[in-house]
Every structure is written in C-alpha cells, then in structure tokens.
Subunit: 471 residues, 2 copies
C-alpha cells in the first residue's frame, strides 16, 4: 500500500466508521455468534501475495462484524462503558500515524510533556490534592488500565514497606493488604503478581450500602500487627464495580496514615463524575492517599486504553520501577530535568496516548464533558424512579451516579432469564452482579450517545421481558 | 463534534498523516527542543467551551511537531525500530472506531477469535513448535510489549515452581532466575515485580559473540541447587538489544528441561526475521521453551503496541492470572469452549489489536513482508562492509541480522562526540550501547521505508563526522 493508496483507503475507512457510528443502533448489541463461528470463516493460511484493501474491508463486514459486541451503541448498558468519541478516535489516529515510542523524554519530548501537562489539568479539574501535581512531589501518568495502575501502587507500597529491600531481596511473606468484599478483582490480581500472596489479602466487610467499614479495617490491621505481620497496602474504591458504592475515603485514609500503609484510591468509573464541581465531595479525604486512578476510557469519551494514575510522591514509584541499561542512557535523562515515563509503568514502550485525551478535553470543553455526565446521572435517577414504581422490581443498591442495580422479585432464575432474553434480543445489553447474595441486574449508563429515549425504551423492554416471564 | 464533522475532520487528518508520511524526511529526526519547551506553549487550564478542530490541528503543527522524534523517518536508525505502515494505521483506526473491549470472548467474539487465528498463522510462519498452536496445549496472545510478556512468563514460572502456591502464599525467597549479561532490562524488572528479588537473578557470562554460555548457566544452577535454592526461570534471547547476539537456544533449553526450569525465549526484534524460511535456524531448539515472544511492533510494520506471546501449556498461564468475579461470569466462559484473554495478561481490559496484524499480513502478503526484511538485512551487510573498509572504524560485534555495531577507533569520547554531532544534525538518528566496555555506535535498520540510499547517505554522514572530529 503506497501512500496514495493509504490516503484513498484512509478516506474510505473514515467513511466506514462514520457510517457505522450513524447506524450502530441497527446492529444487535450483543453478538449472536457461537464459539468457533468467526474462526471457521478465516482461511487456514495467510496469503503469500498482498491482497487489495477492498477485499480486506469486505471481510471486515462479512467476518468480523457479526462477532462484534457494540460497545459504542447507545443501547449498551453492560459492565461499565468503554466509550469513545470523534475527537478521541482522531487523537488515537494521529498517535498511530506519528508512531512515536515515548519510553523516554528524549524519544519524543512532546509525548512526555503533553501527558504531564494534561494530567496536571486533571488534578485541578477533579479536585485532587496538589501533591498529585507534577510541580509538587508527585505527578500523573497514563497507564493502560486501572489494573496496571493498581499493580504499580502495590509494588511501590511493597518497596516502601520494606525500606526498598523487596526489589532486591524479594517478597518475604510478612506484608498484608486490605480491600473490601466489593473491591475490583484486579487488586487481588495485583497482590498475587507482586508476590505478596492472596492469603495476605484481607477482604473487609461492607455496610448496608456496600461501602467498606473502617472499623472492620482497623480491627483487621490490629489483628495482623498482633500476629507480627506488616500492613502495607489498602485500596478504597470511589464507585465499586458491582454497585458504585463509595468507600469512606477520609476515615480509611486516617487509618492508613496512622498505620503507615500505602493508601490507593480506585476511582476507575466514578472519577469522571468529579469533573463536575458538585461531585468533588466524592474525593473528600483523597489528600490522604498515596495514589489514585480513574479511567477516561470508561466515562470520559476517550477510547481504551487511557487510565490516569496519580501519585503523591513520585520518588517511590520511580525507585520501584527504574532500571537504566546503557542503551537507554541519554543526556536529558542524566540532566535530571525530565520525566522518563518508562520508570512509572511496567512496560518499557509506550504510545502517545495523551493526544486523544487532549483532543477530547479541547473538543468537548469542560462544560461539554460536564453536560453529558450530568445527563447520564439524571437518566439513572429517572430509571431508578421507574424501577421503584414497578412493584415487580426492587432496587438492589442506592444510585450514587449512573449505575442502577435492581432485580425482579421473582428470584435468581427469573432474573437470569430476563437478562438472557433481553441480551438475546440484540436490542440492548445489560450485565449482572450479585448483591446480598442475590442475582442483580446492572444497568450502567455512560455510553457517549445514550439519550433519555434509549433508557426509556430499554426500561419498556425490561418490563416486557418481565411480563413474558410471568405469563 | 457531530458525526458529519467527524467525517470531515477524519478526511483532513488522513490527509495530514499522508502528507506527513510523504514529507517525513524533511523533519529533523531527533527533536531539537529543550526540557520544558513544549509545556511552555500549552495553556495553564483546559478550555471551558469546546474548540474547533482546526484550532487543535494547528496546535499539533505548532506545539507538538517540534517535540516529536520521527521514528517513522527512513533515517531513523536508533534503538530498534518501532515501525508502522499504511495497513497497520488503518487496522488500528478500525479498532479504535469499533471501540470494543475484548476482555472476554463474550464481549466481542471476533476480537478473541481473530487474535487466536492470526497467532496460529504465525506459529507456522515463524517455524515455532506445534505446542504453541491453540489446537494443542498452548496458544498465543497479543501483549502490549515484550516486558509484559516476560512478566507473564516469570509469574507462570513462579507458580509452576511452587506447585501453584505462590499466588496464595506469596514469593518465599527460594526461587532463582537466570539471564545473560546481555539480556534486556525488562527481565530484571519482571523478576523484581514478581517478588523474586533482583538478588535471586543470575547474570550469566557471554562468549566472544555476546551469546550466553550454557556451561556457565549449568554451573550457576548447580551452585544454587547446592545452596538449597530452586532454579525457576531462564530467559534466552534471539537477538539481544545491544548487538543482536543469538543465545544457543537448544543447549540452554536442554539444561532447563533437565532442571525443570521455565524456559522463556525473547525474540522481540529478531523473531520477525524468521518469517523468511532461511532464518528458521534462529529458532532451533525453541521447542524446548515454555514460552516465546516477538514484537511485530518492532520490525513487522505493525504499530506499537503488538507483542505476540506464545506458551506451550496455556493451563499454567491461566491458573496464574485468572480471577473470575461474579460481574464477569457468562455462559460462554462457563461452557469452557472459549478463550478469555483477560486470563492471559496482567490488565483486564484489552483493545482489538489483532485487526492491525491481520491487515498487515493480508495487505503486504507473506512475500511482501519477507522482501522488506531481506532488504534490511542486505543493507546491514553492505554497511558492515563499508565500516570494515574504513580504517578509522572497527566492528564491535558480528552482524547477525539488521543491526550494525561499530565504533571509531579514537575511543569513547570521540564516539560520543560523533553520535551527538550526527543526532544534532537532524539528518539521521543513531543510538549507542557499550560492548566490551567500550562506547559503541548502534546502527539499527528496520524502518518500513528505509532504502539502500538512506543507509549509504547515513554512512557518508558518519564518515564526515569522523573527518570533522579528526580535523
């Protein structure tokens, strides 16, 4: 493909994507294929000679599209959203076209400096503490996911708790970590990866609203101290995955300060809400945290991957993750005047992800972002009212932001059937969780193009499914 | 930005990228900015109201471009390449436009099945053992980088060596790992992250060609066994970063089998050469490896990130990295009939990266890929001949593929000056390493558009710099 062909097919593909975005509601949200169906359409061997691009695009339509779940449909209400937007797609496209590798400041200064700058913007915008600003002791970095951010936090915690010896001597089985029963599974994964061991992870009880109980946390830490163990890491969540529960950050933070445990706050989904000043109270107490993350790739119209990870003291992180072989030495690094983000993450290489975030912030403007987030939250509140008004259903958790957890009163099997029927219809997509040990429907609002009428229509379909179930 | 605006600006951005690719040689390869220069041009706060897209594009030209290192210039000879191509850019664009999150088979079956299929293609193409094929006990997965692939291998090794207990009980300080003095720094980083501890990592001596000495490896393992330690993980490299040295895979593999240590082979750069049958011998003995990776995002015209990671027994990997919370349960996963790639990697979320690899393989065709790779290798051999013919210079290592390591005979300071002068000229970019404890210039060929005349011109510039240095 020469550059003139690239230009022609690039235009064609932009049109393909624009058409897709225009017509995304016509596709069944959940793919209807069976395991192996996509592969059965692919040839056994790759072609020896190059193929024309239109043949590839035809196969995208014929083979790939039937196997797509349409996360960008306004009728996608599953999991948490993984939304994108025009400016984000274009920012990612520019990043791909430039093709820089931003492992060091020196390997593209703009890649590092734009990232630092945009993450500094977000510190103020989200009401985060000044220590997370790069002009202070800390700073922000883009990770691929909240999982990776949490892993970095756990590793830095491990290093800090052992006085910098765990990197060299390894984990020693004495460190303990604390989450709630509602914390995302990625934290357990991180604790395992870091070699602390899942047996060293305490799952703290939650209250009636599924928020961590600080009293139980204090008890668990005291028990471990009495047993000669070293409490090292605590993760609190602003907006849990199952129900968007808000852990009491300030109280947990106070315990962590007293116990000298690294305090990580995971705001993967809910963090975006705090671009609206009225939601800054969600972050109350976050100045007690050593680290914090949220995902613009969930609810801030920025395509995956884009997790923003902030630390209050970058020295811990860098000490934990830095290795400087000769082939990466350079004058800028040795001057100490620059950030080399390879030392802030697990992989060495990195894409220019700040571009898409910059494009989104500038193209929407802060007020444009706030408006959509407020709308999503408003739709969730209306949906909750509709659920409460239907005697067949019950709410399963408070609606703190844009997630509505509810269930049919008929029990687990009925709810599973309703879910399966709705998703098989292709008209919308929901996912589920268990709360209070009961099968619970999760209706998560946050897709970029979701409007009130999509939510209203989905609710009618849920009611119809309940009717069908009972008839 | 509504969808019509997306269409219009998308066309404009495609043209911008095509123009950039047409004129990339006009930019200084290395950015000439000073630390802080890019940030100083960015406003202190993000805009409250959305800005027109042409204002953003103007700022790309004005603010971002001066801070770019042009990795896609045919005069980029630094590090290893991070090349891209038209089909790759378009594959990434489609992935971004679809915006699917492929954490589970169920969250977009095509994302998982295309990935498995294309990685199966590569098993045969690269002459890798059948165990790495998904129809056998193993299979392949796309990771962001060779760093992350190595971390997964180290974690699976840790689990296997402890009979599955390290995930729950943590690392215990008894496990040892082995690399050579030339192994990439990411392996030490992975050993640290996994909690084994850098003190448990042995750097094995290399031979005159910078390849690991198997006799020294066997001795180190014997010493550790005698000390009651448990050899757990060995990494060999096909094409080291400093000099593209080839470790003796078969001999090292035999030792690993005997000692029951996990054998990981890192072919990050050199793996791509094995798409040419005449380079299959580079993989001789790789059937003794538990895991293997190579990076299409280096030399196979596929933009970062795209590392292909293969394991011979996927059960170890999945056991190590799987956690299944309720909110991710689904019928397809429970049927056991599908792959959920979230269990093959550290993060939970994942992009549809197989698209770009599929686009590249189909658009170039296997012969198209082979032709470019063979050209790059041919240019490296010619350059080596020119170096050898110039009495001012000496070769620093054998040319095994497309990297030429050489130095001016004037000593470290002269070589550093030549490097600085060349890079400051903006006409080309080289990086360096140390071999035999001497400052060594690395001339790495592999950028997609590099032709013979670029290499010849660069060599003239190197000679001119040597002249200037001596005058």
């Amino acid at each position: 493909m020469n550059n003139e062909e690239f230009r022609r097919w690039g235009h064609r593909l932009i049109d393909w994507i624009a058409d897709y975005r225009d017509h995304v509601e016509q596709y069944p949200v959940m793919s209807q294929v069976k395991p192996g169906e996509i592969r059965s359409m692919l040839p056994e061997k790759p072609p020896m000679q190059g193929e024309p691009f239109d043949a590839i695009l035809r196969d995208v339509d014929r083979i790939i599209m039937p196997g797509i779940m349409h996360w960008q449909s306004p009728n996608f209400f599953g999991f948490f959203p993984s939304n994108n937007s025009g400016p984000s797609i274009l920012g990612e496209l520019l990043s791909t076209g430039l093709g820089v590798q931003g492992m060091l400041w020196a390997t593209s200064p703009a890649c590092t400096e734009l990232e630092t700058h945009v993450l500094d913007w977000l510190v103020e915008l989200l009401g985060l503490p000044p220590a997370f600003h790069s002009s202070s002791t800390g700073g922000g970095v883009i990770q691929d996911s909240a999982s990776s951010a949490a892993l970095c936090a756990i590793l830095a915690a491990r290093e800090r708790s052992t006085g910098g010896r765990s990197n060299s001597l390894g984990a020693d089985g004495s460190l303990t970590a604390y989450i709630s029963t509602q914390t995302h599974s990625s934290i357990e994964k991180g604790v395992r990866i870091a070699g602390l061991g899942a047996d060293q992870l305490r799952q703290i009880e939650v209250d009636a609203n599924y928020a961590m109980r600080p009293d139980r946390l204090a008890e668990a830490i005291a028990l471990d101290r009495a047993a000669g163990l070293r409490p090292c890491f605590v993760c609190a969540t602003v907006g849990t995955t199952s129900s968007t529960a808000i852990d009491p950050i300030r109280e947990i933070g106070r315990i962590c300060r007293k116990e000298n445990a690294w305090f990580h706050v995971d705001g993967a989904m809910a963090g975006t809400a705090t671009i609206c000043p009225e939601f800054h109270p969600l972050h109350d107490g976050v100045e007690l945290a050593e680290s914090y993350c949220f995902n613009p790739h969930k609810w801030m119209f920025t395509n995956f991957d884009c997790d923003c990870f902030f630390v209050a003291d970058r020295a811990h992180l860098i000490r934990t993750l830095s290795i400087l072989p000769e082939y990466l030495r350079n004058r800028a690094t040795e001057s100490g005047a620059v950030i080399d983000y390879r030392d802030w993450q697990v992989p060495l290489g990195r894409r220019f992800r700040a571009l898409k975030l910059w494009f989104v912030l500038r193209s929407f403007g802060i007020e444009g972002l706030r408006q959509r987030v407020r709308q999503h939250i408003q739709y969730a509140r209306e949906l909750a009212d509709w659920v409460k008004a239907d005697p067949r259903f019950e709410m399963a958790a408070p609606v703190t932001l844009a997630l509505v957890c509810f269930r049919h009163r008929g029990g687990d099997a009925v709810n599973q059937k309703i879910l399966d029927q709705l998703n098989a219809s292709g008209k919308l997509y929901l996912s589920h969780t268990r709360l209070d040990d009961k099968f619970t429907l999760r209706f998560s609002i946050g897709q970029t193009e979701t409007q009130r009428h999509h939510v209203a229509q989905a609710w009618r379909q849920i009611q119809d499914a309940a009717d069908a179930e009972m008839s």
